[in-house]
């Protein structure tokens, strides 16, 4: 790789040790996955779960001292910056919540421990994406998070899950192939795989466009952006609810952050790139919300809603390099989105997948019902919740970057989304049914998610201060 030659001379060993220290959180995630696998092979899945939880939390903890560092490791191929640090701080606890959420669904099945391993590996893929400084890391990130999540979707091994897993696999393989094919043009034109060398592309517009489109296909598939979203509703609905929660948050956020990492280094106004991203944003927001309007299955409804939320996410990406708010908006929205979306899925895990399962939930389980209302209105973006602050920052960043029209499309979409989420709320306060059983881990997940959904909203200023 070209970057190698730029490596500071002398003290290579020291450099290596330093780089490894900066990568401590990622290494901790990898060790967690491997350790959990070992326990699974020893047929000790009950150890595998706490080991995964603690390992991931330790990895998140290891990130804290790194906050504020802006550097790269291993010859610029991986970035340790605000995006990648906050990706760890947000996505690792989010993964822990999903792991806990999955416990009632997978406990006492054979392969229970495997699920936790796959969660960790997929999360690692997302983290690699979020910090990618080299196109090879983009490929590895997409690959790692895909390979980890295919079996998660197919886990129940019934017809639906197998079909969903297959669809996801085929779609993912093609998207990844297109991505690898396209970004070789970048390498051909610049002679470097580093993302920071992308400005050299200004002399080769065709290669630049080819690579960009390909990168957007691969990452857009991971982020379930329209028109690369077809797999998402089936995959979410085929697998366990916890996997749907996980897929809708962790790999997605990783992929969005990866697009932001590319956006940083593009030559200004490169090949209409911001416009292309804006177009994806409009498509995703609008299609996601409209499709969600007619869903009768809450998991599919949330899947389409997650597509729409990816669209909002892209408003921050559009603003990267143009607005000082861009990175903070991405981070704050990621935190809010992780909390409210996992929270909403946790309540689905409690109530059931069908909209009819939600009938009377607000009466039979008032606390969980109230929490669901909070998650949903936070997804709409109503103050003072986290979703509002995150969206507000995204819209602000887009306006700051000269994309006021995009922000207006976003606001109009938010209003449409109110109708989407209110359908669940209305159903929840209809005629009461029997109270569904509430496993303790599920309750723990939605309570934690609730705290963060509200917390991100109220303490937004604190978070903003840390990110900036």
């Amino acid at each position: 790789m070209n970057g190698m030659q730029d490596m500071p001379q002398g003290g290579g060993g020291m450099q290596m040790a330093q780089d490894l220290a900066l990568l401590a959180p990622e290494i901790a995630v990898l060790l967690t996955a491997v350790g959990a696998l070992v326990f699974e092979m020893l047929r000790l899945p009950k150890v595998s779960l706490p080991f995964t939880v603690i390992g991931l939390l330790v990895a998140a903890g290891l990130t804290v001292p790194l906050l504020g560092t802006e550097t790269t490791v291993f010859s610029e191929t991986f970035r340790v910056d605000a995006l990648s640090e906050w990706a760890k701080l947000v996505l690792l606890p989010a993964t822990v919540l999903c792991v806990v959420l999955s416990y009632p669904e997978v406990k006492d099945t054979d392969r229970e421990g495997t699920v936790y391993v796959l969660f960790s590996m997929t999360a690692l893929g997302a983290l690699v994406l979020a910090g990618a400084g080299d196109v090879m890391f983009l490929v590895i990130g997409v690959l790692l998070s895909s390979v980890g999540s295919f079996p998660l979707v197919a886990y129940p091994r019934d017809d639906r899950a197998t079909e969903a897993g297959m669809k996801y696999f085929v779609f993912g393989s093609v998207a990844l192939a297109v991505m690898i094919f396209g970004i070789t043009y970048w390498f051909g034109a610049t002679g470097s795989t580093l993302i920071s060398d992308l400005p050299r592309l200004s002399g080769a517009p065709l290669a630049a466009v080819f690579g960009l489109v390909a990168a957007l296909v691969g990452l857009g598939y991971k982020a379930s952006l329209v028109p690369f979203h077809f797999w998402a509703p089936d995959a979410y609905d085929g697998g366990p609810v916890s996997v749907a929660a996980f897929l809708s948050v962790v790999p997605k956020t990783g992929a969005i952050f990866a697009i932001a990492q590319i956006a940083r280094d593009l030559p200004a106004g490169a090949s209409g790139w911001p416009l292309a991203v804006a177009a994806l944003a409009v498509l995703s927001m609008t299609y996601g919300n409209l499709a969600a309007l007619v869903q009768e299955n809450v998991v599919r409804l949330l899947a389409y809603s997650a597509i729409a939320q990816s669209g909002y996410f892209l408003l921050g990406v559009v603003a990267v390099g143009e607005s000082g708010l861009a990175v903070s908006s991405l981070v704050v929205f990621a935190a809010a989105y992780a909390a409210m979306n996992i929270g909403a899925f946790a309540v689905v895990a409690l109530a059931g997948r069908d909209l009819r399962d939600f009938a009377g939930l607000g009466r039979s389980r008032p606390a969980a019902g109230a929490a669901m209302v909070v998650f949903l209105i936070s997804l709409v973006g109503i103050p003072p919740l986290g979703g509002f602050v995150g969206k507000f920052l995204l819209f602000g960043a887009a306006i700051d970057a000269g994309f006021a029209w995009l922000a207006i499309v976003g606001i109009l979409n938010s209003v449409v989304s109110l109708a989407v989420y209110l359908r669940i709320v209305v159903s929840m306060y209809g005629r009461a049914k029997e109270a569904p059983v509430s496993p303790r881990p599920v309750a723990a997940v939605w309570v934690t998610a609730l705290v963060f959904t509200v917390g991100v909203g109220l303490a937004a200023q604190v978070l903003l201060g840390r990110v900036a």
Binding site: P366, A370, I382, P383, P384, V389, F392, L393, G396, I399, A404, A407, I408, I411, L412, V415, L418, Y429, L458, A460, Q461, L464
Partner: protein, 490 residues
């Protein structure tokens, strides 16, 4: 200083939370919680009123920074325009809850929704931050939707949905206008006081923002031709819901007209004032004539709301158009007083029609006759309220409408055509009184009971207020005028 405004704002919400988290409460206990919460809120708003609005500007301001770097904060306070409306809100909610004591079906949810709606309504009037305002504005929709959909009459589901969609779509333009104001303010802020002190938008942008605001507030008020949700929602809503809808929620439209359109885009409003005035005159006359054609008492009262709110819009348009500060203050005083009077008088009328319906299970005027003999208190109450509604001197609407017409005469002499509306309302109310309360008492209504204690307790205070405002309008106008004068409208 003790944050009385915030206490007033959140006391009802506290009551609602108590109800939500005590699922085992009986209907009686739920009503008790509601009355205590609404009663304490009434007292707190009385304290806010007593503290007043010093110098006519925003007073008793309470501010908690939230995201300082983006100019978003929790900001509440009152001035002479919002103060009477806050008091009106707390009075009407208390009265509505007293009248609702008979509700036993899911009383806990019913009371909780009313309390939630009360917090949202007070919030709209005291908000000094555009985001806070918008949120409360939307929450009122949700509260009212459930009240109509769950406790209304036969066609309630459709009526509730129409109401919800209409007003939800209607409030979208306001959001865009707020966004425009935010982006144009330097530094960017959602502080409504900043927008008012130094209107950030000019030229075409201001005109677009004004049009957006007018759409939102006209739907809410409502003004012809976007009034069609109102008769439907009113006829299907439960009685107490109608009282709140007409008494409080409609005021948000005209309050927004003053607070946002008039104060934040004054120049654009001046340019648009003739058109707004024409629409207001037409709407007022239209409301009166359509009310004349009604045979259903509740629809009749609902359409007179379109008439009365038309006068308010006319008053605001006159205030926007004139270059004479004293005329502007006169018209605006009238408009604000008209909001209060309409809230009180229409409240009484809906309560009485509700009481009548509870007895007779019909609202068709033709079905009644001579009721004054069977239920004299109900009858005289209705006659008094009807006289107030048609603008008889010494009753609540007279001083308000008088000031509006006086202002109109100075600015748009032709606009005085609107006085015709008074003649029509006089006619329709007299007809209603004659057919329902005078003449022979048919056999089937012989046993009609008069108002009981619960109804008297809710209707009596409002009737007293009707007379009080009519006889001593300065009690309200003193506060209002201090602000309208200080606004320095030119």
């Amino acid at each position: 200083m003790f944050p009385v405004v915030s206490v007033t704002l959140f006391l009802p919400l506290l009551g609602a939370l108590v109800l939500v988290f005590l699922p085992g409460l009986s209907a009686r206990a739920a009503h008790l919680v509601g009355l205590v919460a609404a009663g304490l809120t009434l007292v707190a708003s009385g304290v806010v009123w007593a503290r007043g609005a010093l110098g006519g500007g925003f007073s008793q301001v309470e501010e908690v920074p939230w995201i300082p770097s983006l100019g978003v904060a929790y900001r509440v306070g009152v001035d002479g325009i919002s103060l009477p409306l806050v008091l009106l809100t707390t009075v009407l909610f208390f009265v509505a809850l007293v009248f609702s004591l008979e509700i036993t079906e899911r009383a806990r949810s019913y009371v909780a929704l009313f309390l939630l709606l009360e917090t949202a309504s007070i919030g709209v009037f005291v908000a000094l931050d555009a985001i806070v305002f918008y949120v409360f504005f939307e929450v009122t929709l949700v509260g009212m939707y459930f009240i109509i959909a769950d406790w209304g009459y036969e066609g309630r589901q459709r009526a509730a949905l129409t109401f919800f969609i209409y007003t939800l779509l209607g409030s979208l333009p306001l959001l865009l206008a707020i966004l425009g104001l935010y982006l144009a303010s330097q530094p960017n802020t959602f502080d409504m006081r900043e927008y008012i002190a130094d209107p950030p938008l000019t030229g075409l942008a201001a005109m677009l923002a004004l049009v957006a605001m007018l759409v939102t507030f006209f739907v809410k008020t409502p003004v012809f031709p976007v009034h069609t949700w109102l008769p439907l929602a009113h006829t299907e809503a439960p009685t107490a819901g109608s009282v709140i809808l007409a008494g409080v929620l409609l005021k948000m439209g005209t309050y927004g007209l003053v607070r946002f359109a008039l104060q934040m885009t004054p120049d654009a409003f001046r340019a648009a004032a003739p058109y707004v005035a024409i629409l207001a005159v037409f709407s007022a006359l239209y409301g009166a004539f359509v009310a004349l054609a009604q045979t259903d008492l509740k629809r009749l009262v609902a359409y007179t709301s379109v008439n009365h709110m038309g006068y308010v819009v006319l008053g605001v348009a006159v205030a926007a158009a004139t270059t004479d500060a004293s005329v502007a203050a006169l018209a605006l005083d009238g408009a604000v007083l008209q909001m209060v009077s309409h809230g009180v008088v229409t409240g009484v009328l809906f309560l009485l029609v509700g009481a009548l319906q509870d007895r007779a299970h019909t609202r068709e005027m033709g079905a009644f006759g001579g009721l004054l003999r069977a239920a004299p208190v109900l009858g005289w109450g209705f006659i008094l309220a009807a006289f107030a509604s048609l603008g008889l001197p010494a009753l609540a609407h007279f001083p308000a409408e008088f000031q509006i017409f006086l202002g109109t005469l100075r600015v748009y002499p032709a606009g005085v055509l609107v006085v015709l509306g008074i003649v029509v309302t006089a006619g329709l109310y007299l007809r209603a009184i004659v057919t329902v309360f005078l003449g022979e008492l048919p056999e089937r209504w012989k046993g009609t009971k008069d108002l009981d204690a619960r109804e008297l307790l809710s209707i009596g205070p409002l009737l007293a207020l009707t007379v009080l405002i009519g006889v001593a309008p300065f009690l309200v106008l003193g506060v209002v005028h201090e602000t309208t004068r200080a606004m320095g409208l030119l």
